[in-house]
Amino acid sequence: MANPRIILHADMDAFYASIEQRDNPELKGKPVCVGGSSSRGVISAASYEARAFGIHSAMPSAQARQLCPHAIFLRGDMAKYARDSKRIFEIFRRFAPLVEGLSLDEAFLDLTGTERLLGPARTVAKNLRAAVRDEVGLAVSCGIAPVKMVAKIASDEAKPDGIAEVTAEGLRGFLDPLPVGRIWGVGPVAQGRLAQQGIYTIGDLARSDPKRLERTLGDWGSGVRRLARGQDVREVEPYREAVSMSEENTFGEDVADRRVMESAILSHAESVARRLRRSGLVARTVVLKLKLGRRVASGPRGFPLLTRRQTLREPTNDGDVIATAARSLLRRTELTEPIRLLGVGTTNLSEANPEQLSFLEDGKRKERRARLNESLDELTDRFGPGAVRRAGQSSVERAGLSFQIKRGEEPPE
């Protein structure tokens, strides 16, 4: 590689649950679940003691209670977590010039070129972990690697409370035995297709025939193969909108029918809105992303990409509002050719304010929508995505090709 980089992925261990244990000594050493205190909710964080019972985030709390009846269930305090997050990020910034936040509790730090000033990456990781522990009282695991994706996988391997370093030389040896699902964006659909070809591990993928891979996964195949070989060219982007949520899909065949696009919009908007609500957030800006089917260059980025954004009058976490904005963006976009990918995103996120109740009818309409969304979320939590659909929201096959890191929704196990 021409320009070897050193990337550190810092990921807080059981963030919400650890904060609760820190603030309440009685919880230390006990299985603690945050979120889903009602019988129908889902867990948003589980302490390592709770994980020992098989509890993980995004698990319905009813199931968690079965697995561990004596676990302590807490409602959670987003404001408190956000404050801790802010302090942690301030510490991160002391150790690297470039910090890209992925969510409240994880970030990429680009350590390239800081060695003379701060020492080797492993020393930086040690000092960073000590600083977070001393100043905030929480454990953070660090993964170090020449590329982002591997750094993230490494921090996972380092948990709990550890450091894992993958050098350029050791990179293939580290990745090869891991299942393909560990690569970003390789979801269940892609995994299934790969398994049919006898590709189970990242090593299988790296060694596979690029032509055959393209037949299996489409144009995306060569990109995935590069990732499997540890070639992730993406840089740490500090100015990336650290708080954004989006959902996208690549269509099985390029789509020209706007009704199909609108149906995909509705599906993505509902899903994004649900994740916003689950994270206690509202979004002010809606982004529509369209990738045209016509290839203009090689590689996964070889398709023209259109993005359109609209800022709303007031922030929302209602799927209907997001879908309406995205649909109007679509209507205002002139499309002369079919598209291969459609995404709906939200940025400009902020914490949802408590809602002022009203005693007059027009104010009540918004309240009713909020209550409706609440009930829909409960049903989805209980019976899984797709349990409830709005009319017109057809099931858009998710090829699982999204590079987005999702907050509020854990990837399926």
């Binding site: 404001a79 304010n353 408590p354 002022q356 009203s358 005693f359």
Partner: protein, 374 residues
């Protein structure tokens, strides 16, 4: 037009119009004051009038009139000039081309104006029934309700205060709400009021002018009357006319909680101070504070992701169910400060239902505040 007038009288007459003409307006002439001299000699009068087509004020000051007539000039500029004049008699004269010549002591101004004919006429009407109200009573009623009126122009029917006569009690009632809080006050005004109005909505601006007029110190009584979609108030030589809001005021009776049967009594001042302090760390936009009521204790708290947390406890006499209610601190503070009492009764039911605030010494005043969902 030619006359001589006391500087103080002229200044007072002009000052009263400033709030009406000050607003930017699409018709330039509405920035003017219409001056009309009438009568002859010492018994003459100068009438000063202004309108923004929604609200109009007309007042008369006594003047020594040499020649009757009318002219209009910039109300703001004329007022600025008069304020700077020495305390002497002021000579006013309309000269050719609608100029107004102002002379006082050795100062002399020539102010460009417009033909009085072009000034829109104020609605002339005399309601069949004018009722005398005590100024301080009306002033207090306005103060206690106006804050709750909506400023959201898309809800025009809430952009004012509802005025009605309660037949059973013979009292006047003012009610205002913006959908999130409501303020209501009943008062008897010392005169038979039946038939005065069967429910009209007085716009905020008209009400603000009415309040200003009521608070002027010259007379204890003000006459008020309504006709069609207009309202009229008269105090001494000053007449205020306004266009009422045409629209339906919501059924406010439904808003007043009937089942808020959990009650606590609180001294207003310590409560206001506590809410103010805790609100310092509330989220900037929502101003949300949390009120936890439990055995013998009322706790007010707030938290802001960027700043931190605050809480304060008050002792209360309470032994009912524990209830947590979120409020917009601004709504609570405005209600508490407008209620004009040292002690209130706070009635509530749950965290999602309206709470009621009543002074313990005044059964005719109440405020309702809708909570925030926490």
């Amino acid at each position: 037009m030619k006359l001589e007038i006391d500087k103080g009288d002229l200044q007072r007459g002009l000052s009263r119009l400033q709030a009406i003409v000050e607003k930017r307006n699409s018709m330039p002439i509405l920035a003017n004051v219409l001056l009309t001299a009438s009568g002859k000699g010492e018994t003459g009068a100068l009438e000063l009038a202004a309108t923004d087509l929604e609200v109009g004020i007309r007042g008369s000051e006594s003047a020594n009139v040499g020649k009757s007539g009318a002219v209009t000039v910039s109300a703001r500029k004329f007022y600025d000039i008069v304020r700077e004049l020495p305390d002497e008699l002021v000579n006013l004269e309309a000269t050719g081309n609608n100029y107004l010549e102002i002379k006082c002591g050795r100062a002399r101004f020539s102010l460009a104006g417009t033909d009085a004919e072009e000034y829109p006429s104020l609605p002339e009407f005399s309601p069949e029934r004018l009722v005398k109200l005590q100024s301080p009573v009306l002033s207090q009623m306005i103060e206690r309700t106006m804050y709750a009126a909506s400023v959201d122009e898309t809800r025009y029917n809430l952009n004012g205060v509802y005025f009605e006569v309660i037949a059973e009690t013979g009292k006047i009632r003012l009610v205002a709400t913006d959908g999130h809080r409501l303020a209501l006050v009943d008062r008897s005004v010392g005169e038979e009021v039946s038939g005065l109005a069967s429910g009209v909505i007085i716009p905020r601006k008209g009400l603000a002018e009415l309040k200003r007029l009521v608070d002027e110190e010259d007379a204890d009584e003000i006459e008020l009357g309504f006709e069609g979609s207009s309202g009229l108030a008269r105090k001494g030589s000053v007449t205020l006319v306004m266009r009422l809001i045409e629209g339906e005021f919501p059924n406010y009776q439904q808003v007043i909680p009937k089942d808020a049967d959990l009650k606590i009594t609180l001294a207003v001042e310590p409560l206001v101070r506590a809410v103010r302090r805790v609100a310092l760390l509330s989220a900037e936009r929502s101003r949300a504070i949390k009120v936890d009521i439990s055995d013998g204790k009322l706790m007010i708290s707030s938290s802001n992701p960027d700043l931190g947390e605050a809480q304060e406890e008050l002792d209360i006499d309470y032994s009912g169910a524990a209830v947590s209610i979120g409020f917009n601190a601004k709504y609570l503070l405005e209600s508490l400060s407008a209620i004009g009492s040292k002690e209130i009764q706070f009635a509530f039911k749950t965290g999602n239902t309206p709470a009621e605030i009543r002074p313990t010494d005044d059964a005719d005043t109440l405020a309702v505040v809708m909570p925030m969902r926490l």
